[in-house]
């Protein structure tokens, strides 16, 4: 009896405290809203937004609803995050491996890169790229082409636009290739288990992925047109490149800063993962007669990935959350479009901030649930 009371009292007190805090806030919010004559509700999402967004992946202008504006912001956030994740993984893996290089100069260059970029605030880095580094680029009319067809200018990066014909057939052909690869993999595993023979699965997979779409091109079912960026005069002194795709400088600065910053953390994860595998594993694998490639593929990587992936996913999540700093350089992401412009126009602070936070929360929680599931799946099963 005594014990039960002892365990119930603190719980009750905590619950009371939480309820009291929430209740206090809710009552105040209600009073405040009554006073200002605002009613709580999400009906405003269907209203006309009447503001423009500079950079949007989907068709959008002022005549669309606030809900559409939210979607525009969300897509822009996802675009930055995906690009940042791709680049930070590439840089991070290279730097992480370089930090373990036997070469003194490489090792230390990588270490200095990590030490410097992780100790400077991300916001400062974004400002640096956007206001200092990218502003030093030439104007469109003076730009030399990069790789022949792309133009890196102060107004953005202009790349050719690809115009596909029958794009869906290409997708189907890739899908067909993937399905056949899965079949071949299963067959190869069976062969390996039954007869001990090995098929060059990787080579076959790459070959299939090239051949299937290739056939669609050769037979003329799918056609690809490229429209190159062309210099166009807007007024006497103002030029842009038309026809191609223009990547705004905000996006470039953001992706650069995010990927260079997050790459330092990814590099540390990679290094920890590789260092976390004892030398004995490698030696044991070699002593049972595996080739160096097989050692890497069958012994080192599965174990290293077990250490690397969870913290790296955490970094990807951080990158996604950090992409909200886009608001500082006016890249129209979720925070700027929705929690910024839309909030200013409607004045619905509680609704909009809660939607924004819930969006990020859903994103984070779903990825961490996925991660926990993955962790459980790959965890070493001990008896």
């Amino acid at each position: 009896m005594n014990l039960r009371i002892k365990s119930i009292i603190p719980q009750l007190l905590t619950l009371l405290f939480v309820v009291a805090v929430i209740g206090f806030f809710t009552i105040n919010a209600q009073l405040n809203m009554e006073e200002r004559g605002i009613d709580f509700g999400y009906g405003f999402l269907n209203q006309e937004s009447s503001f423009d967004v500079q950079f949007s992946l989907i068709e959008y202008d002022g005549s669309h609803s606030y809900a559409k504006a939210y979607l525009v912001g969300l897509l822009n956030t996802i675009l930055v995050s995906v690009l940042g994740i791709i680049f930070c993984t590439i840089i991070g893996v290279i730097v992480g491996i370089a930090r373990l290089s036997p070469n003194y100069l490489i090792r230390n260059t990588a270490a200095w890169y990590v030490e410097f970029f992780r100790n400077v605030p991300l916001l400062l880095q974004i400002f640096f790229w956007y206001y200092a580094a990218l502003r030093a680029l030439p104007l469109p009319e003076n730009t030399e082409p990069l790789f022949g067809v792309t133009y890196l200018t102060v107004k953005g990066y202009y790349i050719p636009r690809l115009i596909w014909e029958n794009f869906d057939i290409l997708i189907y052909s890739i899908l067909a290739a993937i399905i056949s690869i899965i079949f071949i993999r299963n067959y190869a595993r069976k062969l390996q288990e039954e007869k001990g023979q090995q098929l060059p699965v990787l080579l076959i997979s790459v070959g299939l992925l090239l051949i299937f779409p290739g056939i669609t091109f050769i037979t003329g079912m799918v056609q690809l047109d490229v429209s190159l960026p062309v210099l166009k005069q807007l007024s006497k002194t103002s030029f842009i490149y038309a026809e191609g795709i223009s990547v705004p400088p905000e996006l470039i600065a953001l992706v650069l800063a995010l990927s260079l910053y997050t790459a330092t953390f990814v590099a540390e994860c990679v290094r920890a993962g590789i260092q976390g595998i004892s030398k004995g594993q490698k030696e044991a694998a070699a002593s049972v007669g595996l080739t160096p490639n097989q050692i890497l593929k069958l012994v080192i990587m599965p174990q290293a990935l077990r250490i690397i992936i969870p913290p790296t996913t955490n970094q990807y999540l951080n990158l996604t959350k950090n992409s909200s700093l886009a608001a500082a350089i006016a890249y129209p992401d979720l925070v700027l479009v929705f929690a910024g412009t839309a909030l200013m126009q409607t004045g619905r602070a509680i609704e909009i901030v809660s939607i924004t936070m819930l969006t990020y929360l859903t994103l984070s929680l779903s990825i961490s649930i996925l991660m926990n599931w993955y962790n459980k799946k790959i965890a070493i099963k001990e008896k």
């Binding site: 365990s7 603190p10 719980q11 009750l12 905590t14 619950l15 939480v18 206090f24 806030f25 105040n28 919010a29 009073l31 405040n32 809203m33 006073e35 290089s101 036997p102 070469n103 003194y104 100069l105 490489i106 260059t109 030490e115 410097f116 100790n119 400077v120 605030p121 991300l122 916001l123 400062l124 880095q125 400002f127 640096f128 206001y131 200092a132 502003r135 959350k321 950090n322 909200s324 700093l325 608001a327 500082a328 925070v335 929690a339 909030l343 602070a349 509680i350 901030v353 924004t356 936070m357 990020y360 929360l361 994103l363 984070s364 929680l365 961490s368």
Partner: protein
């Protein structure tokens, strides 16, 4: 038997190879050196692409010629081990050396040789192509103290000196006083700090003029925000970590909910909330200062991260520690305070240091609510019509500043880690 690979030295002919090899490496490096420092290229007779890659090729050949295990020459052995163990590494080595040589002259020119620091106006910088450190010099006080009135800067300085002095009190607590050291740092010191900052920096009494928080800024604001953030998020995080590990279901789930919520949202939206949404949650006549709101938001946010780090430490302790403490008849709090937490915290020093670093690096985000610390002041200075076009200098200055602070913090954490390391 004839050695087919003429580039491969053997121990018998190594001397010759060493001379030729070092000469080739020297030629390669010297060529790049001349090109970058004096802009002389004595190889213009070669075709363009060959001209460009000549130093690399000749350097690779040279490094190849001196690569021999146990050559007998200690310096060569060291070079071979560290930067020349195979062709790939040799190539990377050369590329790094060449890049350094190519980068040094323009960087040196820009940062030091052609830079100006004299004068008090922009005119001093117009003539040169180099960096304009005059800009930093003129704006230095703003970067440090924000819009705080110039005459009162001594107040900020005094406040910080007093705060640092109080921070060292713990070192002089000997004997019986030593028992109160945690109490002092956890409870007394924050109160003292708040009083000092309230009366000295904010003013309003004792004949000191009131300076509103909007005027605060620069590095001093960074320090104030991170200082209170660090002091308060640590105990809150500790309680949350204990709560998450608790056996009482309600406390456990409230803690989990709290931690996961704050870890799931970006700080910038939290600050948005504190500035636009939070006033709606208060009685209409209540007013909380912007700075306090921001600091509270940062504390609540970072506490969740600290809690997760401490939880890692708690989980790493073996069960035996809990059982041993319980068998001595210790209650929950006694066990946590005297047995579990001291060991757990020791384990997670690096993690806590990382969280604190993140907090310091997150302070620039307070621009969202209109407060400007160093980075915010830079943005303000950059758009000043009298000083347009010197963004680069400002960013470099601020980067070095933040880098120094964070680097010092991480070095200190490494020192603490070593100091409290115990063998298990």
């Amino acid at each position: 038997m004839i050695n087919i690979n003429i580039l491969k030295p053997t121990s018998s002919n190594f001397q010759t190879y060493l001379y030729i090899g070092s000469a080739l490496i020297f030629i390669g490096i010297f060529d790049v050196f001349l090109r970058s420092f004096f802009n002389i290229n004595y190889l213009t007779f070669l075709p363009d692409s060959l001209n460009l890659f000549f130093p690399l090729i000749i350097g690779l050949v040279g490094l190849q010629m001196i690569r021999l295990e146990y050559s007998g020459n200690r310096i060569v052995d060291k070079i071979n081990q560290n930067i020349n163990n195979n062709s790939f590494n040799a190539g990377l080595t050369l590329i790094i050396i060449f890049l350094t040589l190519l980068v040094i002259p323009p960087a040196l020119d820009w940062m030091i040789l052609e830079a100006t620091i004299s004068g008090d106006t922009k005119e001093a910088c117009v003539a040169t192509e180099g960096a304009c450190w005059t800009y930093i010099k003129v704006w230095f006080r703003r970067f440090m103290y924000g819009m705080y009135p110039n005459d009162f800067h001594w107040r900020i300085n005094t406040a910080f000196i007093v705060l640092i002095a109080f921070a060292f009190v713990g070192y002089f607590m000997r004997g019986k006083l030593k028992n109160y050291i945690t109490f002092y740092y956890a409870i007394l010191y924050p109160i003292i700090a708040f009083i000092i900052i309230n009366f000295l920096i904010s003013g309003g009494s004792f004949g000191l003029e009131w300076v509103e928080t909007n005027a605060w800024g620069g590095l001093s604001l960074t320090f104030i925000v991170s200082f209170f953030g660090l002091i308060f998020c640590f105990p809150l995080g500790m309680i949350l970590a204990l709560g998450r590990r608790s056996e009482l279901p309600i406390i456990k789930y409230i803690s989990i909910g709290y931690i996961e919520f704050w870890r799931g949202v970006p700080l910038i939206t939290v600050l948005f909330m504190s500035s636009v949404m939070f006033p709606m949650f208060l009685p209409s006549d209540a007013f909380v200062d912007k700075l306090i709101r921001v600091i509270a938001a940062i504390i609540l946010f970072e506490a969740a991260y600290v809690a997760e780090v401490i939880r890692g430490g708690l989980q790493a302790l073996p069960r035996g520690q809990y059982d041993a403490a319980k068998s001595l008849g210790m209650g929950y709090w006694k066990m946590q305070i005297f047995v579990i937490l001291p060991q757990a915290l020791k384990l997670v020093i690096p993690g806590i240091a990382n969280t604190f670093l993140a907090l310091v690096k997150d302070t620039p985000l307070i621009f969202v609510v209109g407060l400007s610390e160093v980075v915010g002041m830079l943005q303000m200075a950059k758009t000043n019509p009298k000083w347009l076009g010197y963004a680069m200098e400002g960013y470099i200055f601020a980067s070095i500043l933040f880098w120094a602070i964070c680097y010092a913090m991480s070095k200190y954490s490494q020192y603490l880690e070593l100091k409290y390391k115990t063998e298990r």
